[in-house]
Amino acid sequence: MEWQRLREKAFTTTKEALAASVNDNHLIIQAVASMEDLDRTSNTLIKRLREWYSLYGPEFSHAVTDNEAFTRRVLEKSKQEQLQELQCKQSMGADLQEQDVQEMLALAGMIRAMHEERARLERYLETIMQRHCPNITAIAGPTIAARLLQEAGSLRQLAIIQASTIQMYGAEKALFRHLKTGAKPPKHGHIINHPLIAKAQAKDKGKIARALADKLSIAAKVDYFKGDPIGDELRKALEERFG
C-alpha cells in the first residue's frame, strides 16, 4: 500500500535527520543545564547534611562555612580529630553510635561525588566551548559563555541579537519585576558573575556590563561566521580599561 511505503520512508528520513541534527550546541546546553541541576541538588542535600550532622558535631558544622570543605572534612576526619582542631573542650553534640554516623557519611559521600562531577563537567565544558565558540569563551569564560548560549538557544541566535539583550540574559525575572512594579531595573544578568563586574564598585557595574556585552556581541558574530580570532584581544582591551 502506498501509505505504508510513505510512512516507512517518513520514519527512516526523520530518524536520520534527528540523528544528524545533534551538534555541539545541544551538548553545551545540556552540560550547563546539568551543572545547574547539580548545584541546586547538592545545595539542598548539603543543607540537610549540616542539620543532620549538627546533632553529632554542631561545632564543626558551625565553624566550616564552605560547603565543599565541610563535606570533605566530615568524610576525612573523625569527630575527635575535628574537635581537637577546633580546640573545643566540650561538644554540644550527642555521642552517636557508629551505625547512626554511617548514614550521615553516606550522604556526605554522595555530595562529594556531586562536587567532583561538577568540576569534571566544568572541564568538559571548557573543551567543548573552546571548540564551538572560542571567542566568547575567551572573553566571558566557559561557564558564563555557555549560559548565554543556553539563553539564546544557539550560536546563530546569539550572533544576531543586540548587545543589550546579551547584557540582560539571565535577568528576566528582575526585568519583569521592573516592568510590572516599577522596581529598579536590572543592569545585567549572567554576566554579573564576570570577574571584571564582580570586583567593580557598584557605580561602575552598569558601565562595565555594557562594554562587556558589546564585546561579547562582536565575539559571537566572529564565532558564528568563523572569522579571525579576536576574543583575547577584546578581553585584554576590557581588562586594560576596567581591570
Binding site: W3, L6, R7, A10, F11, T13, T14, K15, L18
Partner: protein, 226 residues
C-alpha cells in the same frame, strides 16, 4: 456519554460544561496520561480542550472541522502529538495523518507516538518549505491543520493549502495573536489574519471561533478549498 456532532467524538455532561472524548482507534493506547473510559468493550480517550485548540473549538461550538472517519490529514506543527493523536482517533484505521514539526526535541516524542499508531507518520521538516516534504504526500489531502504560532503563519498556511489540499477539502488554522505581534491588540491581529485569509482566491472562510477561556488570545479559522 453520547456522540457529539463529529465523527468519533463523544461528549458527556460534567460538573462544569462538557467532557470530550474520542473513540479510541488503537486499543490500549494511552499516550498523555488521559483518562480512559471503557463502554461495551470500546475504549474512549478523554481530551482536554485546554491542551488542544481543535477541541477547544469543538467545545466552543465550531460548525465544521472537516476531519472525518477515513480522512487524510496534513498536520503542521504537531509538537509532541497531543492533538494529532486525537485526530488519529477521529480518522480511524482507514485514515492517515502526516505529522510535521521542525523541532527535533518534540519530534523524538512524535516518532515514538507514531510507531504505536499505523495511521500516523512523523516528519521532521519546516512547513515554510513545502517542497521538502511533497514527496511524502502522494495525493492531495482532505484536511490541512496548522498550529505553529509563527509571525507569518497565515501565508505559510495558504501556501500549504494551495499545494496540498484537495478541492472541497478543509483547512484549519490556529492563529495566536501574540506570535504575530506582541504589541498589537489581539482583536486587531485576528482582523488582519481574517482579511489575509479572505483575500486568498483558492479558499473561502467557513467559520471562526475564539478559543477563550480554553486558550487565551487564539482563534481557529476553518476554510474550504474552492
Amino acid at each position: 456519554m453520547k456522540p457529539a456532532r463529529f465523527d468519533n467524538i463523544y461528549e458527556e455532561k460534567a460538573k462544569k460544561g462538557m467532557k470530550l472524548f474520542t473513540k479510541s482507534a488503537y486499543e490500549d493506547f494511552r499516550g498523555f496520561e488521559e483518562a480512559i473510559i471503557t463502554k461495551d468493550d470500546q475504549q474512549y480517550r478523554e481530551v482536554d480542550p485546554e491542551r488542544s485548540k481543535l477541541f477547544a473549538a469543538v467545545a466552543k461550538g465550531i460548525s465544521q472541522i472537516g476531519i472525518r472517519e477515513g480522512s487524510s490529514v496534513l498536520y503542521l506543527g504537531a509538537s509532541h502529538g497531543y492533538t494529532a493523536s486525537y485526530c488519529s482517533d477521529i480518522i480511524g484505521k482507514q485514515g492517515k495523518i502526516l505529522c510535521v514539526d521542525v523541532a527535533p526535541r518534540v519530534v523524538r516524542d512524535l516518532v515514538f507516538l507514531c510507531e504505536k499508531r499505523d495511521n500516523m507518520a512523523p516528519l521532521l521538516a519546516d512547513c515554510r518549505q513545502p517542497e521538502t516534504y511533497k514527496e511524502f504526500i502522494s495525493e492531495n489531502v482532505d484536511v490541512v491543520f496548522q498550529d505553529i504560532a509563527q509571525r507569518d503563519q497565515v501565508s505559510i498556511f495558504l501556501k500549504n493549502c494551495d499545494q496540498f489540499l484537495k478541492q472541497g477539502g478543509f483547512g484549519l488554522l490556529a492563529v495566536k495573536a501574540r506570535s504575530i505581534d506582541v504589541t498589537k491588540k489581539p482583536a486587531l491581529v485576528f482582523k488582519q489574519a481574517y482579511q489575509e485569509l479572505d483575500k486568498a482566491r483558492s479558499t473561502v472562510i467557513v467559520d471562526k471561533r475564539e478559543l477563550a477561556p480554553y486558550e487565551k488570545d487564539h482563534v481557529l479559522f476553518v476554510v474550504k478549498k474552492r
